[in-house]
Symmetry: C2
């Protein structure tokens, strides 16, 4: 099969204007009290007349899918065979799933399409899951160390004899309800659509020509949640919950670069998540693909160089300034949408939030979730070169249980030279 | 500055048709013998009349940038202040940079815009780097173990006293020269443009309306190269080169999931790369953002479940089949473009290629690079549950120095149950 050439589309439909609205497309009633009334999101390409969303599946991987088709490796009309792919655990609908404002950046029903929209699928609608759940065992060197040092115990349940940790993991594709996105950002929907179109270099004309299409599947990275212990306990305020909402940093998370604290924060969060599950609570790590403050690595590396070379060296007092000069903004991450994943699980209370970011804390609080304790990373886990970031953040008002340095102190927190 | 509201665009230009070609835009002559004749790639949004490419910068992070503007945090007209951002090492142009076919998916001059196109920048052209270089120290637990076990030495140069490894790292944003991309895939440029437009749900009408624009900055992830030792040695065939071209796998690379061998392969590659540099050679790890065979994690998790639940269990003999059923293709990765990064560094010979993939090997060989040894991962580094993947790949013809199992043997290589 993989060597056959598949038929290619012979014509191009440039832009679907409102007068081309197809009667075959099912309406989307975001936040409807019944998921059948809400309706499935149809963003596949095979039957254009059924589409009720802008963009398509798999985030930015849609570009690779298109190349696969161009190369002839991929059946254009492929429908996913979903036999046996269902979740190994039950993910129960939560009140937030019926609220059009609590969740606006993922489709809460995106993991239940077979049960809910099976009839449509049989009728020929090409509906794809946007949420998938599986189980895994994690082997993490920092966790092995935590066990060896007696900080974490082998219990044969959460932590196995081979020191691996058992988790349930959930992948979320972005599905944006544009009226809700606009409201979160405090802007008119029409303005949001224009800006999204203009500032991406003209991606998806439907943003401006099809105001009737309210849902966008943007070509951005997905989000993955790792649950330690029983998923159902996430919605139980009585069960202790330890949680880290982690923004991707490839240089540290994978390669252990010592200019920041990302991986140490992450593995400390995992350790605490596992420990909380062992005590009868539950742990949650959410991994958001927002590399380099959602600016990307090219910008990040330019900023590193500018920080290291600036007059007076890489001091904590100048930490934020350089990003803004190079990138135009200190930080392009949107913590505004981050709590949607927490709402998906029905979380109402976080007992231990592993983060020193006020942006994260504020977004969580604003979404109606109570945070009991904020946990900052223990000093001994901070790499030497990352002290610049750490002290700059504390001085800027990030959460810390420890001391905050004044300007004079910040000038003295100096990172390594570029060539060292 | 970050709290001001910036002026928003008041009108929308839907599609730039060919009759709207602006005389202010500079021509792009891909592969020209002189980089000034090649011309800068201008894909910024601030002066639309200067644009000579489709799409815009930062890959998929452009969507976050647009949201930043919508929220009012970001100066729409921001020009990057590039002072002090230049590379800490000299990256010398290579013959391949002047060849329109050797490099088609990145802009080889994208890291040299200040030297080459400084005059244009002064004139007001908003030109942005698409390549950035910096230096870092990596702290990796598996490397600490390699040192403790005597496999890797502290030399105070490549490997520091604190067991960190010194590297030069280079981030590459995707910049696609469409005629070259089409040629690599064996398809007409016009067909490629139509498919890219249609199959992404109508991203960038300019793909079909502006055949004069030959360059696309697609909204996909970037690529990062980590160099161990002297970058200049990469182009010297006499210097021993150990190399791993690694496709992202977040579940293993970051979280150590044991269903695959991704992180063990990566850290083994890093160990060997450092060791080769210590011996006077050079090491290279290239990290490509192609999660889950460029299908994304939602698909990946569905496939995991289907594999674990199929009749007979998760056997090596059924490994590839399940991905094709769920996703429509076994693998959507494009090793066809992967060697562009190797060509960027002027690599002509790889002494030790850490990979068992024939797709990778074939693409490298096809691009004219000689591979001396192919290195597969030592058995003791393969997690138990990943034996399914490993044996399936060997039987499918992936490279191995070891034994290949027959059908009967493959049926017996059985992964863990889903609920175990």
């Amino acid at each position: 099969m993989s060597n056959e050439k598949f038929e290619r589309p012979s014509h191009v439909v440039l832009t679907s204007h409102s007068n081309q609205v197809f009667k075959e497309s099912l309406p989307v009633n975001w936040g409807a009290t019944n998921p059948k009334d809400r309706g499935p999101i149809i963003a596949t390409i095979s039957e254009k007349e059924n589409r009720n969303a802008i963009g398509t599946h798999s985030g930015s991987y849609t570009v690779y899918r298109a190349l696969s088709i161009a190369k002839g490796d991929y059946a254009r009309e492929h429908r996913p065979e979903l036999e046996n792919t269902f979740s190994p655990v039950v993910i129960k609908p939560q009140e937030s799933w019926f609220d059009p404002e609590k969740i606006v950046s993922i489709d809460p029903w995106g993991g239940h399409i077979q049960e809910l929209y099976g009839d449509y699928i049989k009728e020929g609608y090409n509906i794809k899951p946007t949420i998938a759940v599986t189980q895994a065992r994690l082997h993490i060197p920092e966790i092995f160390e935590a066990i060896d040092k007696g900080r974490l115990e082998i219990d044969g349940d959460i932590v196995a004899e081979d020191k691996s940790i058992k988790v349930t993991k959930i992948a979320f594709e972005p599905v944006w309800y544009l009226p809700g996105i606009a409201k979160r950002l405090g802007i008119e929907e029409g303005e949001l659509r224009k800006i999204l179109f203009n500032e991406t270099g003209g991606m998806f004309p439907e943003l401006v020509t099809r105001p009737d299409l309210k849902v966008l599947l943007p070509p951005i990275g997905s989000t993955t949640a790792y649950v330690f212990g029983d998923v159902e306990k996430l919605s139980d305020s009585e069960a202790e919950l330890s949680c880290r909402v982690h923004d991707e940093c490839n240089g540290s998370d994978v390669f252990g670069s010592d200019i920041c604290t990302c991986r140490p924060y992450l593995t400390y969060g995992i350790e605490h998540a596992a420990k909380t599950a062992q005590k009868g609570g539950v742990g949650l790590i959410v991994y958001y693909r927002k590399e380099g403050r959602a600016l990307g690595e090219v910008t990040k590396f330019l900023v590193y160089n500018a920080r290291k070379r600036q007059e007076g060296g890489d001091t904590a007092s100048n930490y934020f300034k350089r990003t803004e000069c190079v990138a135009g903004v200190e930080d392009a991450r949107f913590q505004e949408f981050m709590p949607d994943i927490l709402q998906y699980f029905g979380i109402k209370k976080i007992h231990n939030l592993h983060s020193m970011s006020n942006m994260k804390y504020d977004a969580i609080a604003k979404s109606g979730i109570e945070v009991v304790n904020r946990i900052s990373i223990p000093d001994e886990l901070i790499p030497a070169d990352a002290q610049v970031e750490m002290e700059a953040k504390k001085a800027a008002g990030y959460f810390t249980a420890g001391e905050v340095k004044d300007k004079d102190g910040l000038d003295k927190v100096l990172g390594r030279n570029l060539e060292e």
